[in-house]
């Protein structure tokens, strides 16, 4: 290169610096808008480069071609840089955001579920377990002796109508008839026959009633029986235990109604209901164990007292999950079961 004066030297070195700075600047850019600003700064009408080319006549005529050629080379170089960067930004936008569709469903682990009735039985039992109640079970096919007679419901007692019974097609044996238990209460007598007080048990299990089905009644359902016997249990213990249970299962905001009701095997008798759809729904029957029941299993009612209760499992599940039809429980429809 044949450069004669400082002015020309200067413009070459300035152009070289200009090019380096432009290169460094563009390296940092990854947004389209920043790239546009870069373009204005380095290739725009007011840029140094444009000024050099516009003012080329200020230089010595012999130097003009060299300066012009150098400036144009840089302009072309920067133009290429610009286009390259523009493509990169465009591609980035497509690959890092557009092409990765995070909204597709993930690979759900293959999970199974317990039936909502099993889940509810477990929750109710565990609420009572924490109070020292043991889990026991008993036969779904029973003698009328246990289902009725020992519970102070003798033959021809009108209270038998409270439990429409499904009978087993078998001959009477020693005056006893076979039936599908209408409640879990027969286990009260079975447990007391075999054990001495103190007693605290819960007994989950299926029960059956000859009853027309509708959205709140099933002939095939589950109950959880509870029984506590000791030397000085009274009505406040019954109430405290059941309120504690209701708080654990439904939370403390739920309204509870505790009212007098009649079951021949308790005295006094209780119906406990929960507010549901602006009405009350009965979730359990309870009461202090009737002295005749204690006597029938050989306990001394002067010495021992206790309470019993029977919780409706499906009712609890319906309230907790907002299920509107009890017949869903044994329909085995995956559209229902898969929700729990």
């Amino acid at each position: 290169m044949n450069l004669k004066d400082s002015k020309s030297k200067l413009v070459f070195s300035e152009l070289s610096d200009f090019k380096k700075i432009a290169e460094i600047d563009i390296e940092k850019i990854n947004q389209a808008q920043d790239l546009e600003e870069w373009k204005i700064k380095y290739l725009g009408r007011k840029s140094f480069l444009t000024n050099v080319l516009r003012d080329i006549k200020n230089y010595d005529i012999s130097e003009r071609p060299a300066i012009g050629s150098e400036a144009n080379k840089i302009r072309k170089f920067l133009g290429n840089l610009f286009e390259e960067k523009q493509n990169i930004i465009k591609n980035n936008q497509q690959s890092s955001l557009g092409a990765f569709d995070y909204s597709l469903s993930g690979r759900i682990p293959n999970i199974g579920r317990l039936h909502p009735v099993t889940q509810t039985i477990r929750e109710v039992c565990s609420a009572f377990s924490s109070l020292g109640f043991q889990i026991q079970e008993g036969p779904e096919v029973e003698w009328d002796l246990y289902n009725f007679d020992l519970l102070n419901i003798p033959k021809n007692h009108p209270a038998r109508d409270m439990w429409d019974t499904l009978w087993i097609d078998e001959e009477e044996i020693e005056g006893k008839k076979m039936l599908l238990r209408t409640h879990t209460s027969p286990m009260q007598a079975r447990i007391m026959e075999k054990n001495d007080p103190p007693i605290r048990v819960v007994i989950p299990g299926k029960c059956y009633r000859y009853e027309a089905t509708d959205s709140t009644h099933e002939w095939h359902f589950n109950q959880i029986e509870g029984l506590a016997i000791d030397t000085n249990l009274n009505f406040t213990d019954l109430k405290g235990t059941l309120y504690d249970f209701a708080r654990k299962i439904f939370g403390s905001e739920r309204k509870i109604r505790f009212r007098c009701d009649y079951f021949p095997f308790v005295e006094p008798g209780v119906d406990m209901s929960i507010d549901w759809n602006n009405d009350w729904i009965e979730i359990l029957g309870a009461g202090m164990v009737h002295p005749k029941v204690l006597e029938s299993v050989g306990y001394d009612p002067e010495k021992y007292s206790g309470f019993a209760f029977g919780v409706g499992v499906e009712r609890i599940a319906m309230i907790r999950h907002g299920i509107d039809d009890i017949r869903h429980f044994y329909g085995n429809d995956m559209r229902f079961l898969s929700q729990f």
């Binding site: 999970i111 317990l114 499904l166 103190p198 299926k206 002939w219 009274n234 405290g240 235990t241």
Partner: protein, 801 residues
Amino acid sequence: MKVPLSWISEYIDIKSSPEEIAHLLTLAGNEVSNIQNIGEWEGVVVSEVKKIDPHPNADKLNIVTVNTGSSNVEVVCGANNLYLGQKVAFAPIGSMLFNPKTERMENLKKAKIRNIVSNGMICSSLELGIGEDHQGIYEVDGKEPIGTLLKNILNDTIFDLDITPNRSDCFSILGIAREISAITGEKLKINLNGVESLVPNTNKKSFTLNIENKNICSRYMGALIKGVTVKNSPEWIKEKLLKIGEKPVNNIVDITNLVMFELGQPLHAFDFQFIEGSNINVRKSQKDEKILTIDNETRKLDDVVVISDSKKPIAVAGVMGGKESEITENTKNIFLESACFDSIHNRQSAKNLGMKTEATLRFEKGLNPKLCEYAIKKSIDLIIEIAGGNLEEAVQDLWIKDKNKSKKITLKKEKVNNLLGVNFDQETIKNTLISLGFSINETSNKDLDITVPYWRQDVSIPEDICEELARIIGYEKIPVSSLSGQIPQWEPNDYFNIREKIRDILVESGMQEIISYSADSKESQLLTIESENSEKLVKILNPMSRDFEYLRFSLRSGILKAVSKNIRIWREPLKIFELGSVFEKQNNDLPNIKDVICGAFVGDSQENLWSKSRKLDFFDAKGTIQYLFKKFQLPLSLQLTKEKNFIDGECFNIISNKIQLGKIGKIDSRILRKFDIKNEEIVIFELELNNFIKNFHKITKPVSYKSFSRLPESTRDLDLIIDKSVLAEEILNEIKPIKNIKNVEIFDIFQSKNLPKNKKSLGIRLIISSDKNTLTSEQIQSLENKALKNLNKKFGAELRG
């Protein structure tokens, strides 16, 4: 039971709102399940029928002119009980009225019926919301002046009460009034009168009473009323009956019904001319006796208590009267019965005849003989007032049991606190009991000697007295306490715990739990069980339907029904199981009840829509069983077996430690078709839980830790050619015992045309390592050689070329 507040108000002043009363009754044990308001109509007025002309375009319609007090209006009406001068409930255009079709209150619009404009409507009791009858129009009492707004004379609130079976006294207006009196403190306005005032001064006796056995009837009262006129009841009686849902019949029958609903004592009136001879007997039915009852059914009287005259039964005692001696408009002399029939015999009679009536509803709960006299007194008074006639001879009274006997209970002073856990003061206790009709004597040591009122058949022990106190004072007033005392030290319930753990393991492995009905149809059960078990099914005497006639012997049918249902509605693969009881008939004892697990696998296994799918198969089921057994640290082996319900060669016994625990296999498509399952393969497994838990009751013990080598493992793959019949399991068993071969896996298995016909190619991988030192490649090679040599010797296996 329906209870109009207007009727109750005859016995007690009601000062709280109906809602409040209903709430209090419910809390105290008589649940009010519904409150119905009558008289919410607007604009309905008492009007008089002035003219009845036939409709020119319809046979069954009339054009009726009514006087509303302000004008005469023409309406079209189809009722069959219209007459001139009749007082009716007339709804002019624009009235608000109950529409039985929409079950809402609606504005009455002008209507054109067969081309004649009707300017309103003459209402039936259905349209007024006070009864079921819509054939005839509702008749207003003739005393009511024309133009009176109906709502001013006919508004009412009706409670629907669910009476518990112990409270025979509450099946009456009076009983509910007594309850309200106790819970509100308001005194009853009416005292009941006995029959003494009715005895005329004569010794005449046209009939003789006889009770065969004091156990079937404790008291029988009979009255002969001569010269009655049987006709329609006056409006006030009809209105009362309509409001509680009873259809008026005639004045005599209506009065006996009215008294029954009011006092709780069922009564019966006979037409005296059809009673043969002069004897009225209460007795057990005799062989081959029959009666035609009022409902026109001929009934065979077998082990039933009857009322008979000198020749034949004339009524089923306390259940229903006979047709022959029924009260008709020709009846002149009536024999009126008010008796106390034994509750157990009454229930048995009704049950034997398959009948349930308003009378049995009350008798079967147990009534007190005292009630008979109040009821007969009230009925006689009403009959003479309304139907005329005379009591020409004394009311006869045969009272042979429990005469003037009242129950006494001693309430020890500590009893209330012991049972209820709360110390009510003595005054509160006494006042509460007195408000319920009990009378009390306080002994010197503060115990209470309590006399139970005759109507409370249900109260007989101190605990009953405590309930009375608790329910009237209010259950909400009793505090709560936490259980104290000793927690019973019982052994943990292993069976329950293991069973629930099994449920959890199956759920962990991706299965959905289902619960089927425990009863099934015979056909479904027989389809899925082995034929020798068909005798062991337990039959239900009165099943809900044929579909639920037998208790299940197997869970298979329930599982297959669930599969059949869900393959139509559920697109995801089905991996379902049920853990539940099955029932096996036993001689002279309750059925043998066992817990069984049954699982089924069917459909396409697929992680999600874009991944590749495959059919669930035998190895999905087996893998689940393997996982279950592994969790319990139990060995598992399968043994080929045969059963008609499975495909031949694909049914296996599940065995652990030589004990057979269940089956696994592919269900025969012939069975599947019966469950309406086509083009699907279903693998099921079945485990007997009792057997599983009985034999492995120690399986709840914690997993025992085994030390593991920290030295590296090497793997060697062998491609073998081997006889087709050699099982993978046999190969593994042959190599596993070699020391330092830690594990053997099969990674490839195929048959091809390039191999001899009876051979297959098998890729097996040896995992080799020593606990002591790192093995050299020579040592590893020698282990590989040893494995190969053993397989060659035992099965003739060779390396693939």
